[in-house]
Amino acid sequence: MASDQATTPPPPPLPEIQSHDLSQVIVLHPPPVFNYFMDLFSKKFHLLKAWESPLPLHEFLTNHAHSAQAMLCSGTGPSISADIIRLLPSLRLVATTSAGLNHIDLTECRNRGISIANAGEAFSEDVADLAVGLLIDVFRKVSASDRYVRHGLWATKGDYPLGSKLGGKRIGIVGLGSIGFQVAKRLEAFGCNISYNSRKRKDFVSYPFYTNVCELAANSDVLIICCGLTEQTRHMINREVLLALGKEGVIVNIGRGAIIHEKELVQCLVQGEIGGAGLDVFENEPDVPKELFELDNVVLAPHMAVFTTESFEDLCDLMIGNLEAFFSKKPLLSPVMNE
């Protein structure tokens, strides 16, 4: 036996994929998908994990990310500011796991010819579903009456107060992009009437278009915020808009917290100037104004519109696909076009 082994040489060891053979991707802070799928990325790319380093961020980037051509980021963690971009001289792609782009200095990227890829339409359905879920919850008091039942009050205090019918209500969609359109399509099936406000009129729909959000509010029973956060949309929904929406009006926000002037929203809710709200996003997450906890006509969600297993899996595939396309000089799967 020993002699056999002496004459047959062992097979050569399989080449280990050294992480330095893989393309580098700089990651400042782990995106939420990393909580579930980081190894899928680690297998394909050499992740430069800035958050794991004891070095201050600027030092880490200067010392370790000089040749990184691609970055993976999300809405959480440090903003991708001009300062940070300037520390990454080889950067040619910023891939964000969000649909929103408000955390990225788009001007700096454009000036440097850095491409951007985002989540595209990967979770438009999930976000639209949450918007509709929050709306039905507010109108029909789902969470409030579930609380009521669980506290044993149905047997002792009698029936819960009546809700409001969704059919026939006028829905004002703020931002008729991919998410806004999915929301509209769903609510039409409930017999709702859709109108919208957007930067530009959309030719592919016949819904009434309002050039200004205050007018939209005055002609709607519900406002659903589906737009991105920009300089123009920051605090766009203020007291004036809320008063136009009116005492029976309901607002749903699945965009970004800062699109609504939060202090004024809270005041309007507390004073009964509007009828209710369904909120997935807030100005200072995870801080939520305490006054809202006293209100039964408000439904609160922890920025979870995209947090489904299905969306995370799709997002993972999409981000890996974008990075692979980038490194093999193929077109990105979900590039953000300059508008």
Partner: protein, 313 residues
């Protein structure tokens, strides 16, 4: 008209009560200290009974009211009314179909979203301050899930129409296959449950449909399946439902109705994959007003010898 006696069985709607009081000699059964005595005392003047999902004219009550001509239910479901006895005695029966279809269907979808996306649980998560410690976990996508409907009547069809807008494939079980629909038919509830992810009860409660959702059906629906009950509590074997949920054999449930309302099994209170509503399917200001007007309209038509608006018998 004031001399016409109308017996209202339980409180159900202030507006309806006030209008009945204005137009008729209204007897409110729930205010009576001794119900059988109360009925005996007023039996000779009671010509109409107004009930709802919670209380109806059963055989005993019908027998005790020799002058009863019409039973008008503030509901679409008439499982609490002895229809056979009414037919036998020539007593008219009306209900409130169509006007509440949309609200019930809206709520069915609301329950699906609330269960799959954990809306109530995550609202609790925010209110309790837990969000400061970390994100909520991943939930399950609703769009695209297969929805199975037991009973493709008005409400079943309205649920299907809404679910289709979420790209949900629709399948159904019915006593007989419907020729005018494109949805996939299954000849048994167990087969339906095996082939869908969300099962909705939307049929009337009869002797045949009692416990139509039993242990076998729940096992077929499975650990990733969700049961939505917007029908009647007795459609579902409630103790079996509780053990299926507690043991994880059933993935979740959205319930608006229970076998012994307003009692709800307390074992369900601690489960995060369950949403519990206090029978609010038609519970909107708008719809309850329309339902009340329909009850009033039917009674008026009857006592004026005109055709009833929404007769069942």
């Amino acid at each position: 008209m004031e001399s016409i006696g109308v017996l209202m069985l339980i409180p159900m709607n202030t507006y309806l009560e006030q209008e009945l009081q204005k137009r008729y000699n209204l007897f409110k059964l729930w205010t009576a200290p001794q119900k059988p005595q109360f009925i005996k005392e007023h039996a000779n003047s009671i010509r109409a009974v107004v009930g709802n999902a919670g209380a109806g004219a059963d055989a005993e009550l019908i027998e005790a009211l020799p002058r009863l001509e019409i039973v008008s239910s503030f509901s679409v479901g008439v499982d609490k009314i002895d229809l056979a006895k009414c037919r036998e005695k020539g007593i008219r029966v009306t209900n409130t179909p169509d006007v509440l279809t949309e609200d019930v269907a809206d709520l069915a979808i609301g329950l699906m979203l609330a269960v799959l996306r954990r809306l109530c649980e995550s609202d609790r998560y925010v209110r309790s301050g837990k969000w400061k410690k970390g994100d909520y976990k991943l939930t399950t996508k609703f769009s695209g899930k297969t929805v199975g409907i037991i009973g493709l009547g008005r409400i079943g069809m309205a649920v299907a129409k809404r679910a289709e807008a979420f790209n949900c494939p629709i399948c159904y079980y019915s006593r007989t296959e419907k020729s005018d629909t494109k949805y996939k038919y299954y000849p048994s509830v167990v087969e339906l449950a095996s082939n869908c992810q969300i099962l909705v009860v939307a049929c009337p409660l009869t002797e045949e449909t009692q416990h139509i959702v039993n242990r076998e059906v729940m096992n077929a629906l499975g650990p990733k399946g969700v049961l939505i009950n917007i029908g009647r509590g007795p459609h579902v074997d409630e103790p079996e439902l509780v053990s299926a949920l507690v043991e994880g054999r059933l993935g979740g449930a959205g319930l608006d109705v229970y076998e012994h309302e307003p009692e709800v099994p307390e074992e369900l209170f601690g489960l995060e994959n369950v949403v519990l509503l206090p029978h609010v399917g038609s519970g909107t200001v708008e719809t309850r007003k329309v339902m009340a007007d329909l009850v009033l309209g039917n009674l008026e038509a009857h006592f004026l010898n005109k055709p009833l608006l929404t007769p069942l018998v």
